[in-house]
Amino acid sequence: MNPLGARYVLGKVAGSLGSLAFMLVLNFFLFRVLPGDPVRTLARNRLVSEKQIDELTRTLGLDQSLPQQFVTYLQNTFTGELGLSFKYRQPVADLILDRMWPTVVLVGTGTVLATLIGLWIGVRSAWNRGSRFDKYSTGSSLTVYAMPEWWLGLLLLAVFSVGVGPIPGIFPTGGLISPGVDPTSVQGVLDQAWHLTLPVLTVTLAYLADYSLIMRSSLLDEMGSDYLVTARAKGLRDAKVRRDHAVPNALLPAATLVALGLGFVVGGAITIETVFSIPGLGLLTTEALEVPDFPLLQGTFIFFSAAVIAANLAANLLYALLDPRVRG
């Protein structure tokens, strides 16, 4: 009896590799989606210099046959050669590595907080279904779920950075660090944390609404189960029945749904960084749109997709730990 279910693990890894392969093929064809010379297509309506057209032709390898282009593309991608950015005139790979960590901190902190708080709210709402807490939390979650996450960011900016009425605007209006502060010093770290407070708050609020609704629904489904009657018949207190029996089972479908929504978290990173001018990968993507800087757009697309595929794989493996039935 294998502890992690080797068959399940191998299946999920194979699936992830398949997703990765599919994504790379999709990425290759994205810029060849319109008929005719791709370079002409991409350069239409935009002022591009001869030099840029030449560079693009060379990068896309359009002087070669299509299969040859694809092979070159794969070779380049796997060696980290993602082309040269139009806007920054630097290798795309370097740009991505440089601007990666603010996104990681923002998304990482935000999702962890959103998961913990959202699950707690969802459990409490479901267990005390119909109570005032349930009604308020479900109502607010539905409302936050209906708003674009970046609009929430705009509101928070307006209220807490600019100030409204009696509320002073104490938070910075954007950026990652105050000018002239050394980012590696203690003061610098604190300063960056201060700048990240509102963005992290936005990410957390936006996703905790969704997670609490998911968990509430999941726990409500579990609450009619027979094994909970058994648990109560054993003399366990209500809280223990919930904690040791109902919630561990309710986590399973909830975890699946949360994993399915990981792609949306990436979308949120892009828009929230834009609103708060955080120099991460999200802002990089939005800035790339202005030109449009195709090598950079392709590069960030690969990175974001690969990140979500990896996160999904991690979620699937975690699921195997939670549910012994998939291990066989």
């Binding site: 018949a233 003399g235 207190r237 561990p248 089972n249 939670l322 549910d323």
Partner: protein
């Protein structure tokens, strides 16, 4: 010594479509070392009666009467003594072990759970030893404690339920259709295990089933329920072999003993469905389906009358054998 005394028990559930009277006046007694059967079709209220003993009804249900376990009324008990009673005083074996066990916890841990709860002084190691003991008692190897419910067969799961029920050495065990989901061969084995244990350990047992033949061969006494009431009560073998109430007779015919010559000839089905508790027939609630109904049956709710030594039945025909059918 009387372990369980149920007196005039009434249970009314509150549903979206109005009150639902599931139990309408039931009296039962179980003594130590005795096994009492409770028979009837689905919906007759037998599972409800069983779950009142540990007061597992939702808070919205109305309960009247008395359920005395070792002299204490469960219906008016406070929470702390009730939680102590649950499992340590009286435990239940539920039907359908696949859904009655937590799918994501090992069965050994689930068996140990009530032990750790009710006897906190027992160490983890000793609790594990108790789990092994009780698994042995039901005929399962010790290694099964590490298994998850989905890794066991139906019969093994049901034995785990029995083992779990015995973990805290209760004085009373209530088994609600413990073998219904199993095939016949396994059924016989599990039942035998259960009855042997009851006799060996001197436990009192309330065994619930819709199969009267099973109860007839394993219990000391049996009570037959219909539409929330007990309609016949007596020594198990007698009630099965010679039922006095028309419903018990139909029930007995539905599960014939193999080799019984009579069963080969008579039709064994009953026309119609069990009555809706919200819309019960007048008088005797069985009269619409009764094959030997009298003209006075729709008017009079028959009381329990003696139907032989140590037997009662609630039917107008009983005790009035001389009266002509009319």
């Amino acid at each position: 010594m009387t372990l369980l005394q149920i007196r005039d028990l009434e249970v009314v559930y509150r549903t979206a479509s109005g009150p639902l009277p599931a139990v309408r006046g039931v009296n039962l007694e179980v003594a130590a070392g005795q096994s009492i059967g409770l028979a009837g079709e689905s919906g007759c209220g037998k599972s409800t009666v069983a779950s009142t003993i540990l007061r597992l009804q939702p808070a919205s249900a109305e309960l009247r009467g008395q359920v005395l376990v070792e002299g204490e009324d469960v219906l008016t008990m406070r929470w702390a003594p009730l939680r102590t009673l649950r499992w340590a005083g009286a435990s239940m074996v539920f039907q359908g072990a696949l859904h009655s066990l937590n799918p994501v916890r090992r069965v050994g841990r689930q068996i140990a759970e009530p032990i750790r709860l009710h006897e906190p002084s027992v160490s983890a190691g000793d609790a594990a030893k108790r789990v092994d003991e009780v698994l042995e008692q039901v005929g399962l190897p010790r290694s099964r404690a590490r298994a998850y419910p989905h890794q066991l067969s139906g019969g093994q799961r049901q034995r785990v339920m029995i083992a779990m029920a015995l973990a805290c050495r209760p004085r009373l065990v209530i088994a609600d259709e413990p073998t219904t989901a199993l095939d016949v061969m396994v059924q016989a084995q599990v039942l035998k295990q259960l009855t042997d244990l009851v006799h060996d350990l001197g436990i009192g047992m309330l065994l619930i089933s819709h199969d009267l033949s099973v109860l007839g061969s394993t219990c000391d006494r049996v009570a037959v329920m219909y539409a929330g009431r007990v309609v016949e009560e007596g020594a198990a073998a007698q009630v099965f072999a010679d039922p006095r109430h028309p419903y018990s007779a139909a029930l007995a015919r539905a599960f014939p003993r193999i080799g019984d010559p009579l069963a080969r000839f008579g039709p064994s089905g009953l026309p119609g469905d069990p009555p809706d508790p919200r819309d019960l027939p007048t008088g005797c609630s069985f009269h619409p389906r009764c094959p030997v109904v009298l003209s006075s049956c729709p008017q009079i709710d028959p009381p329990h009358v003696p139907a032989g030594p140590g037997r009662t039945a609630a039917c107008l025909r009983v005790g009035d054998e001389e009266r002509e059918p009319g």
